[in-house]
């Protein structure tokens, strides 16, 4: 067939959400009713909400684990938990919060928001999006299945061999962790690829790279980071599993393996991962703080550059987790220097936010409280990290509670605070109703006070020499009072999170109606109804500035964005592809229908990993075959997607 058959000129039309054209779009895009639709949906809005709900479930699980540990540590010499139980809890707490909550919750927001931000109708690979969600869910359940058989991962999320090898840890505990992480890595990787391609090719015409919403910059930057870092940890966990299952000697000193190799591979992944779980959250703040300060972000370009610089430099600092392992002086100096220099891009972001507040008119909503609180928590987590960049001090502080305090300011302050703030901002977009502001105040202050009561004194616990990961501690070392404070603070924090859940439940049912743009925000998602229809935009908008909804009032820029008039694209499920830099219209893409194939592949893949876990090779083999077969079905060319040329004959 000639390429002519693919040529088509799409007309510009003016259409609102109540125009007749939209009922056709609704027919094309809406998820089919019933179980098939529920399981097979590829709608990014539904999948994004599922990501968020699942991530919050894991947040609650990890939080309960933390509270039990805090009861054990409230006073010296307690026997609430056995050492084995404590080790399992601290391991699962870390694994849950870092892998099953902190990154997926950000993915959830991005899955929901990306197409709305970019002015398109779905992510680039909708079925891959569904697959990514299911694999995340199954990997989380896989890890938690370890509780059912009483073999929970128990060597910490860092999982250092040889302690994690079969000789010292004969049960299946570590196999759950190793295989679960490889499975989860598949989800993370395909999710990152999806964001990256969407960001490059599915933007509204005119949304050149200098006009992109800043959150999409952060998410895309970390997606690239994921593509480069996850292979290191997947490889490491595969090698660990081989050592355990087949007696290879990658990490086993008895066979001249190198236990330190694990630490390199793990931290080559895990340090960038810390930036992966905070940069998009910082993106929430850069995106939404300006709405409540009633002005565009100060220094958009430098903040974007700082985000990218942080991610790149984040790959060059992993050794600062290993300063006490006996590395040569030169390596220590280099990585110490690099770990300090990485503060500079963070300083750029901090002063950009401070300047935005100072030169704006802050509207004190709950979201603004979370974002302003976040800046202070960010700085505390930042400076304690900067202290550990100094090799001599780090060799005192590492593996003490000082680092525990640091990582909690990072993960709660820089991830949970922006996530909660973002919920107050975008929950109305997701559900059509505003979260209650009065409950919101309680939510914020409980979380803020809880965090600081729990973790500010914990810096002292660390300076007073309390090592991490000990299930109990003796009396008389000056650790009692601070530990009690931390326990009290942890419970206040937990109540704060509970108040958020109550707020969600109450507001979901009875919250004030939001309307399309409750905060008078400047970006494209605020042009759609709340919640947005299945097709997102009645016409594909065209963009002429960074803040399309504010441009007239800011009197900036030359052109005018067009949100009511654009391409309708209603000859099937269609989106517009644009060029990567300037976002010029390039092609019309056909998008897939709802499909069960991603679910089937995800189930078969999980079965494969379960087979590997229990060493039932026949099951693993069978599931591998099913995985491949269902992938073939998934990828089989379809006329509706324009993958078979005969379709053009019609």
């Amino acid at each position: 067939m000639s390429s002519i058959a693919y040529e088509r000129s799409a007309a510009l039309e003016t259409a609102g959400y109540d125009s007749p054209a939209t009922s056709k779009l609704e027919q094309l895009w809406k998820t089919k009713p019933g179980l098939f639709g529920w399981l097979g949906t590829v709608d990014h809005k539904q999948l994004g909400k599922r990501y968020l709900i699942t991530a919050f479930c894991f947040l609650i699980a990890g939080g309960i684990e933390a509270l039990v540990m805090r009861l054990q540590l409230a006073r010296p010499n307690q026997h609430l938990l056995t050492p084995e139980q404590y080790n399992e809890l601290f391991s699962m707490h870390g694994i849950t919060m870092i892998f099953l909550y902190a990154q997926p919750v950000l993915s959830g927001f991005s899955v929901f928001l990306f197409p709305l931000f970019l002015g398109t109708r779905d992510l680039a690979f909708p079925r891959l999006n569904s697959f990514s969600y299911y694999v995340y869910l199954f990997a989380g359940l896989f890890l938690y299945a370890s509780f059912l058989v009483g073999a929970v991962p128990n060597d910490g999320w860092f999982n250092y061999p040889p302690n994690a090898l079969k000789l010292y840890n004969p049960g299946p505990n570590i196999d759950f962790y190793a295989l679960g992480m490889i499975l989860l890595g598949i989800s993370t990787t395909v999710g990152a690829a999806n964001f990256l391609v969407t960001w490059l090719r599915l933007r509204a015409p005119g949304m050149s790279i200098n006009r992109l919403p800043i959150l999409t910059w952060s998410t895309t930057t970390t997606s690239v980071g994921i593509l480069f870092s996850v292979p290191a940890v997947s490889l490491a966990f595969l090698m660990l599993w081989l050592d355990r299952q087949f007696g290879t000697h990658f990490f086993d000193p008895a066979g001249r393996g190198q236990p330190l190799l694990w630490q390199h591979l793990f931290w080559m992944f895990a340090h960038p991962w810390v930036y992966i779980v905070v940069l998009p959250a910082m993106g929430f703040v850069s995106e939404a703080l300006p709405i409540f300060c009633r002005r565009p972000l100060v220094g958009y370009t430098v903040v974007v550059l700082a985000t990218v610089a942080t991610m790149v430099m984040g790959f060059g600092v992993w050794l600062h987790h290993m300063f006490a392992t006996g590395l040569p002086f030169l390596a220590l100096s280099f990585f110490s220097g690099a770990s300090m220099v990485i503060v500079i891009p963070s300083a750029v972001a901090v002063f950009a936010w401070v300047a935005t507040i100072w030169t704006g008119r802050p509207v004190v909503t709950t979201a603004l409280l979370f974002f302003a609180g976040f800046i202070a928590m960010f700085v505390i987590g930042g400076v304690s990290g900067f202290m550990t960049a100094a090799v001599p001090s780090d060799r005192q502080m590492t593996d003490t509670y000082f680092v525990v305090a640091h990582i909690h300011y990072v993960l709660i302050g820089i991830n949970l605070f922006p996530v909660m703030g973002a919920l107050y901002v975008w929950f109305p977009k997701m559900t059509g109703r505003l979260l209650d502001e009065r409950i919101g105040r309680w939510n914020f202050w409980l979380v803020f006070i809880g965090l600081n009561v729990a973790f500010l004194p914990m810096h002292w616990t660390g300076l007073a020499g309390m090592p991490r990961r000990i299930y109990t501690y003796p009396d008389g070392l000056g650790w009692n009072t601070v530990n009690m404070l931390t326990t009290i603070g942890a419970f206040i924090l937990a109540i704060g999170v509970l108040v958020l859940l109550i707020n969600i439940a109450v507001s979901r049912a009875r919250g004030a109606l939001a309307g399309p743009n409750p905060w008078d925000g400047p970006t494209l998602e605020w042009t759609t109804p709340s919640p947005p229809p299945s097709y997102n935009f009645a016409v594909i908008p065209a963009v002429a500035s960074q803040n399309p909804l504010w441009e007239g009032r800011l009197q900036e820029g030359l052109g005018h964005s067009s949100v009511g008039r654009g391409l309708v694209l209603d000859q099937g499920k269609e989106v517009l592809a644009t060029t990567p830099l300037d976002a010029e219209p390039d092609a019309i893409l056909k998008m897939p229908q709802d499909s069960l194939a991603p679910l089937v592949v995800a189930i078969a893949l999980t079965g494969l990993f379960a087979g590997l876990l229990v060493a039932w090779w026949w099951l693993a083999g069978l599931c591998a075959v099913v995985t491949l077969a269902s992938l073939v079905v998934w990828l089989w060319p379809e006329p509706a997607l324009g993958q078979i040329a005969v379709a053009a004959n019609d």
Binding site: V383, S393, D520, R553
Partner: protein, 345 residues
């Protein structure tokens, strides 16, 4: 009573300040606090840590103040939300100057911190003079084997969980492990160093004044990581020499402890060594001079006869999961073994 309470309250800030800054009190209250240093190496590190800490607190205070003042200064409370605030154009105070000045100042502070860090790294890299004494630390789940090295092989001996070092002399430590990764750390004396399989790491420490300093394993090493502590005892040089000479002597057991010795050899000798007897096991700590040590079970319990009995009869209750099995030792047997151990001074 009310009066004394008032007085206590009025003195509370003083006490708090004392706890933070007076070395003696602080050490007594928090013996593993590493902001209080008891040797030249720890001193250099503590200085750097204090400097970074003060700088950090300043930065937090400044930025927090900027955020709070900035948010309060021209704030609009939500009831006014109905009054839609028009977005402000960038022209009215673009704000980029904030970034230039803020980042510029931060970079200067960072450079200062880097220079101080580099200086400290160079100073503590090697001891000020060549150490005369080398001690080998060998990690086990969950105790420390300590071997004193000497050019004269007759002066080499093993002990466990308690290190004696001479005051005022740099001591070299060669650390390695027999099983998993551990980390050797005596906070008031200096930084930690990991014990990693298939490599020997080297560090040094020096103590400025006599005393007993608590250390603890700092790398997660399994079930009883929490109970893997040690004591570093700093002696005056003469006392140290005397201690070493005493440690070299084989055990002398009293005639009345002969039955105890036999029982010990049969029941405990497969894992423990007591030099001068037939007990020569190498899996557990050397007990030749066990009664000269202040603690048992890796600084978990004081070395008192009652604790020792409790430990021997049921080590799994005190350190669940540790590698010393609970043997079925009868009361009279225990008494004999205890009698024998009590003589190992």
């Amino acid at each position: 009573m009310g009066k004394s309470r008032t007085r206590l309250l009025s003195r509370a800030p003083l006490i708090a300040a004392g706890a933070l800054f007076a070395p003696a009190t602080a050490h007594a209250n928090a013996p593993m606090n590493y902001l209080q240093s008891f040797g030249p190496k720890a001193h250099e590190i503590a200085n750097l840590t204090w400097a970074l800490l003060i700088l950090s607190i300043l930065v937090v205070a400044i930025i927090s103040a900027l955020v709070v003042v900035g948010a309060m200064r021209r704030r609009v409370l939500p009831p006014d939300r109905e009054v839609r605030l028009e977005p402000i154009s960038r022209g009215s105070g673009s704000g980029v100057l904030w970034i230039y000045i803020g980042v510029g100042l931060s970079t200067l502070a960072l450079l200062g911190a880097m220079v101080w860090t580099g200086y400290t790294m160079a100073v503590i890299q090697r001891p000020p003079r060549a150490p005369k004494l080398t001690v080998e630390i060998i990690g086990h789940q969950w105790w420390w084997q300590v071997r004193y090295l000497s050019g004269d092989s007759s002066r080499v001996f093993d002990t466990a969980n308690e290190i004696h070092i001479p005051v005022g002399e740099p001591v070299q430590f060669k650390v390695r492990t027999e099983d998993v990764i551990h980390s050797f750390w005596v906070p008031p004396l200096g930084d930690k160093i990991d014990l990693i399989p298939s490599q020997t790491n080297v560090t040094w420490l020096e103590v400025g004044e006599p005393g007993t300093y608590r250390g603890q394993c700092a790398e997660f090493c399994g079930q009883q990581h929490a109970h893997m502590a040690l004591l570093a005892v700093a002696d005056k040089p003469d006392d140290f020499q005397r201690w070493w000479d005493d440690q070299l002597k084989p055990a002398v057991s009293a005639p009345q402890a002969a039955l105890g010795e036999t029982l010990f050899t049969v029941r405990c000798g497969a894992c423990h060594t007591v030099r001068g007897t037939r007990a020569g096991g190498r899996l557990g700590p050397d007990l030749t001079h066990v009664m000269s040590r202040q603690t048992i079970a890796a600084a978990t319990l004081p070395n008192k006869i009652a604790y020792l009995s409790g430990w021997i009869s049921d080590p799994q209750r005190i350190k669940p999961g540790n590698l010393m099995p609970t043997l079925d030792i009868s009361g009279p047997e225990l008494e004999q073994i205890r009698g024998f151990l009590a003589g190992l001074k």
